[in-house]
């Protein structure tokens, strides 16, 4: 789960991390009012769950009220990577003389939280990682020790020579780790972390992502979620026991199991088709789940054909087939369906489906090719 910059910085503030004075605004009028209160110059920043705002023109410095107005006008309503900008953050301009990057995330390899720090702040860290990987210092945090003062110092000395800054950084790094733990974060980032003209460390920007698996014990974090329309669909699907992700192709996919669902999409692509979605219906043969899944697929107007790929494991194919038949009986589906069943009791399942005059195929490759043919009709 992602939250906005201003929400991340609100959390930072609660831990006494210095951030810019700032106000969230939903209209140009609010931006004008906020600018009056904060004083010029201000920076107007789009608040969307997408990276690369700056490049997209979603961040503008305003030295005059006119510029602030113009910035608000141009940014509000803008589309950034499919996200519509509905609010902007107006932040007081801050004088600073150097920019750093610090971030915490989970490192799969060491199975620990990792702290990343770089003197190349203010640019996208992924670019630094590619162009100059040595400029990013990485420190694995021992879960038994946490962010000790000595580790925080070790990191701080990589960024700063001035001991007054090192001491501030030690405090800051320990707080960031505490935030990471306290909120079950998957990413906590300050980019840039700046040294202000009066020698203070300040979070000019902030970013936090959270572990979806831990939201059950993070009600305050979960309450910050602002899903887009597509994400709302994904969440609704999740609540029905399905994992659904919309894509931009024409072949609707319904598969049991995440890995198999990905592999099915890959096979469609292999034969030149385009999957309309990822949809994992899990291990159930419950007709209601199939109906929900069907409705999800049909709600996407791009979908021209539905490809169903089920591998019977613990769940038997004949049970799944019965579920499918009941589901399809209860709803009107006016686009073609290609069904492939394999694994436990596949033959019996295929027989049941054939009896209901639904087309079945014998392999995933065949299913994909048939679906592509039907989609191109």
């Amino acid at each position: 789960m992602k939250i906005h910059e201003y929400q991340s910085k609100e959390i930072f503030s609660r831990y006494s991390i210095l951030v810019t004075n700032e106000t969230v605004c939903y209209s140009t009028e609010e931006v004008v009012k906020a600018t009056e209160e904060l004083g010029l110059p201000v920076v107007v920043k789009a608040q969307v769950h997408a990276g690369g705002r700056g490049k997209a023109g979603g961040v503008k410095l305003a030295r005059t009220m006119e510029e602030a107005k113009n910035a608000a006008h141009s940014i509000l309503g803008m589309d950034i990577k499919g996200y519509k900008v509905e609010k902007v953050l107006v932040a007081q301009g801050v004088k600073f003389n150097s920019e750093f990057y610090v971030g915490l995330t989970i490192d799969r390899n060491s199975k620990s939280v990792i702290f990343m720090a770089s003197s190349e702040g203010g640019v996208e860290i992924e670019e630094v990682a590619k162009d100059n990987p040595d400029a990013i210092h990485k420190f694995v945090i021992d879960p038994d020790l946490g962010m000790t003062a000595f580790l925080a110092r070790k990191i701080a000395f990589k960024l700063f020579t001035d001991f007054a800054l090192v001491k501030q950084a030690v405090d800051l790094f320990q707080k960031l780790y505490q935030i990471f733990l306290d909120t079950d974060a998957s990413l906590v980032e300050i980019n840039p972390l700046v040294v202000t003209d009066d020698g203070k460390l300040l979070a000019l920007d902030g970013k936090m992502n959270f572990d979806d698996n831990a939201l059950f014990r993070q009600p305050k974090i979960a309450a910050l979620d602002e899903p887009t329309e597509d994400e709302k669909k994904e969440i609704a699907a999740k609540e029905s026991g399905l994992t659904y992700i919309r894509l931009d192709g024409t072949i609707g996919c319904m598969v049991n199991g995440a890995g198999l669902a990905m592999a099915s999409m890959d096979v469609i692509k292999y034969f030149g088709g385009n999957p309309a979605n990822f949809l994992d219906i899990g291990g159930s043969s419950n007709p209601q789940k199939v109906i929900t899944a069907m409705n999800l697929l049909l709600s996407d107007k791009n979908v021209k054909v539905i490809m169903i790929n089920i591998f019977g494991g613990i769940t038997r194919c004949d049970d799944v087939a019965k579920g499918l038949i009941i589901a399809l009986d209860q709803m009107k589906v006016d686009i073609p369906i290609v069904i492939r069943l394999s694994g436990t009791n596949a033959e019996e399942g295929l027989r049941i489906i054939s009896e209901h005059n639904l087309p079945t195929v014998n392999s995933l490759s065949e299913a994909a090719q048939e679906a592509i043919r039907l989609a191109n009709n």
Partner: protein, 292 residues
Amino acid sequence: MSILINKNTKVLVQGITGRDGSFHTSKMKAYGTNVVAGVSPGKGGQLMDGIPVYNTVEDAVKATGADTSIIFVPAPLAGDAILEASEAGIDLVICISEGVPTLDMVKATNYLKKKGTKLIGANCPGLITPGESMIGILPVDIFKKGNVGLMSRSGTLTYLMVSLLTNSGLGQSTCVGIGGDPVAGLYYQELLQMFEDDPQTEVIVLIGEIGGDAEERAAQYIKEHITKPVVAFIAGQTAPVGKRMGHAGAIISSGSGTAAEKIAAFEAIGVPVARRPVELPDLVKKALADRK
């Protein structure tokens, strides 16, 4: 031979009285898995399908000598269950539960490392040594004893792959579902080494997917340490950036963790990668035929 489990493995089921726990316990028992005990706090003293139930893992281990544990408890309790198993002296823990918070897994894997306890999962279908022991939720009928060692981040995709292998006459030594979470127990590197050391295994199948760089690391490890042939498959060539594809760990983050990178890493060291599942059996046969 096989890796990790065989017919002598004494299995304990944590969460044995739950819906999934009881269902799969009976399935495992029916396959011949040596299930010796169950744990369900507050239900100590009961029997589940003839298996004695204890309040704590410690009690169960003391009474039955269980050395391996499979966990079916709800995800919020799974981290604690893993720790309990390890603290009680269990050697191998298999965590089926899906949705375990990552920081719980950080804590658990760190503790298990210190204790020397092996973990598989969480969010995995378990493992099987065909004809000897199945500890998990795997559909046993598709497996056949043989010389392919298989490891996979996925469930049903693995079943499909195993079916294809079995139908082509390629049996398996041990098949391990390592799970789809970002922080998990035994992973490619450790399992590759175990298969390398296992006399029964003659070829290794690695089924990966998008997210992280474990496949790239595995390729490096194969290059440096593995002499047996390895064949791979990577799911998620069409996955978009920034979306979790069902598994918590299956996500491409800003340009890293793509299937293309992983496939390239394997092919760069001469590990053939099947583009479609159906290609796998022939690649395995070819690898067996080509080996020195």
